[in-house]
Amino acid sequence: MNAWRTFQTGRWTEEIDVRDFINRNFTPYSGDGSFLRGMTARTRSAAERVKKLLIAENEKGGVLDVDTERISSLLAYAPGYIQKGEDLILGLQTDAPLKRAVNPFAGYRNAVQSCEAYGYTINPEITTKFEYRTTHNTGVFRVYTQTMRKARHAGILTGLPDAYARGRIIGDYRRVALYGMDRLIEQKKADKAAVGERDFDMSAETIQLLEDLAKQLEFMEQLKEMAAGYGCDISRPAENTYEAIQWLYFGYLGAIKEQNGAANSIGRISAFIDIYAERDLAEGTLTEEGVQELIDDLVLKLRLVRHLRTPEYNDLFAGDPVWVTCSLAGVSTDGRSMVTKTCFRFLQTLYNLGPSAEPNLTVLWAQSLPQGFKDFCAQVSIDTDSIQYENDDVMRGMYGDDYAIACCVSAMKVGKQMQYFGARCNLAKVLLMALNGGKDEKFGEQIAPAGKVFDEKPLVYEEVLEAYKKYASWMANLYVKTMNIIHYMHDKYAYERLMMSLHDTDVERLMAFGISGMSVLADSLSAIKYAKVTPVKDERGIITDFVTEGDFPKFGNDDDRVDDIAKWVVEYFYQELCKTKAYRGARHTLSILTITSNVMYGKKTGSTPDGRKEGEPFAPGANPMHGRDAEGALASLNSVAKLDYRCCQDGISNTFSVTPETLGRTNGDRVRTLTTMLDGYFAQDAHHLNVNVLNRQKLIDAMNDPTLYPSLTIRVSGYAVNFHKLTREKQEEVISRTFHEKL
């Protein structure tokens, strides 16, 4: 059968161009969710099996099983099934569901520690093999400078992907389905031949690319073999909805067998799948129940994605997230809504299969999206707290209409851009370092070049600002240099061969920096400017505390006096980052995102002039500090909306909790309020919002009695977690966050 029958042809038929295919063939849907179907008997049975597995995993302390006998790769394991004969979408990471693989390429020690943390030991034969192999981690530490080590140790630069795999790269898994592997391999071979001819000097860059392409080709062949193990021939294009989903899932599965990066997102697949579904529905070979069943089964598989992590890693990224971020909706560059029935179907999985943290369903919100879809999203948020919203009207201008979100808030053009992920820099500590003349306030170590230590006299804003600028600028340079080392080594020792094979050969690279402590810093500078702040030194002569007298404007109240400081902080740091050249021609981007590590950053940071005491958590992402947003939810949103996405193109994360009663007395009122709120927030060019609609008391009850709400899912910071997978400390921090509440 001709796989492309009935499809409108165009540039995509001549070259690899999935965007062109989608734009010529997708069917916008402007209705509501009334067409949706529930679970089939088969789905119910499969979901029941998965539920039991998840309970067993939880009972075993979070890890059900580990395969310590082999190293993860595409062909390392025999085909795995939840239940052979019952699975519709085939393929597991190892030979059994929730059995985790050992993947030591980013760091061997890390892999060993991950196993040991859960009582497993890696087969000694593997150890021997890795004695002769350099990992990414070893490479990085061979070249780190003394200053980089110090900055890392002090926690000014944190969460750097120097001991674990970087992630945040989205392969264009749709290519596998649309073209079949043979066509993709043929194209890569042609690319490689052309690259080999085009450089007169055969520079190091060209040699590197040629080697990358050779690695890609090797893994493209392996992917075919992996699929063949499940009885599927993906050398040819997919011919129907089932194959389209299965083929693209194989692409994704191969990628996560090879790589255990922090976030391996699946991209923007709903309109793509919908094209096949529309055709099968029209040809009468599939029913609505059938389409939903396939989506349900894909989502069920995505809910089983696991990687083996160390306890320290879980401190940074709590709740065992994998960020199978799946971007829905958006608008095409010619103005058509990209809401398809399949966008609804993905959201429907939260009703069919129950609320869940994964896949990380992300709605690309635009003012012009159909009201039926907006209302449905709001209803899903109210019912499940499982989805997040990002502003398509802002991103479309920069990324077009075929970008997807990796991880929490990182946009990239699918198959055309990749990202060098760079964790974040603690800006609150940079301020303390500036006041202490380059010394760290916790360890007392001289990290940055020595400068003036401020006296125990009321701080003068202009003087503080000058010192801060000097140190922020130094910090930005060190940060870029550190990232350059990390990604050079990652490319060298842990290159994402399969994921990158599903990208264009001449890919655009983004280097994504991040900041934490933004609202602490803004409030601290505001306190220095508008109140009286006097430093207090300890016996080492280091400023470790402050006496803050008088009131001052606080970020989160739509008050320009402090919001302008917040904007400046972000703009200044971004501008300073751009002054240092990034590895492999990458373009600098910046995010304000902390995942759940705002707790850990707080622990590593001394008292700050805003009145926050040593060790107290930061607010997550770009959120105002807990309890300081005194004028209610919209004032808080307005403050965050002022931060300029143009200098934060890797995302501005805002996590928002509101009680259902505050949104309205009836369900209809609540839906209306939520959609109006999202429209109003995004109309101001805000970037992102995690929405939780729940009561603080519900979380307290859940914390004290985990059996009350076993599947309680909440959005924390660009992703969702099962509340019970958080440590008590993180649960308490989430509970202490602002809940917008009106009595």
Partner: protein, 240 residues
Amino acid sequence: MKADLHSFESLAALDGEGVRYAVFFTGCPLRCVCCHNPDTWHPSGREYESGELARKLRRYRPYFRNGGGVTFSGGEPLLHAAYINEVAALLRDDGIGYALDTSGALPLTDAVRQAVDGADMVLLDVKYPNAKQYAAYTKGDFDTFCRFADYLSETRKRVWYRTVIIPGVNDSEEALDGYLSLLARWNRPEKYELLAFHTMGFYKYEKLGIRNPLCDTPPLDAARLRELQAYLDRRLALSR
């Protein structure tokens, strides 16, 4: 002109149609026994120029779709009617309208009439349905309230009535009948919301050192409130 403001609530979805920004004024002549906000009785010392307040409110225009807008509340907002009229004039060109959340306990001065005329809607607190209870539980004058409600009816204002249901005071069907017979003389409201008496404002009495006359009254049960609301809605539908 300046006014003393108690606080702001930027997401006030319960006080009128759509998404609303609530401005809470200080000062109130009533001293209702069931008051949840005794902290609004006296000036806070935070004064805002009308232009300053209008600038603040304009920032929320993106949220004022679907009938939303500003809600002037309090305290008793109509104690500041002239100020409200000034702010409203500043917001008129931006297409931002307002609702009044009032107990209607003030005489109909020109400024009050203007504020009512300019409002998109009025949330009218119907405290008690007769002069006796009105005098017993508030310091207001029942006739003044009735004249205010008469005016709303005459000018065909959009009105939502609201009554706080207090256990042991008006938490019965018979009590509601009393309210309904009073309401019969006015136009049918768009909505009549019953609000539950709660104890979450009790701490404010303690903090302010004011005697709380209902300190021994329990909060109204949510299920009972639903029952009474259903009864009221049924009766309202039947009576017209």
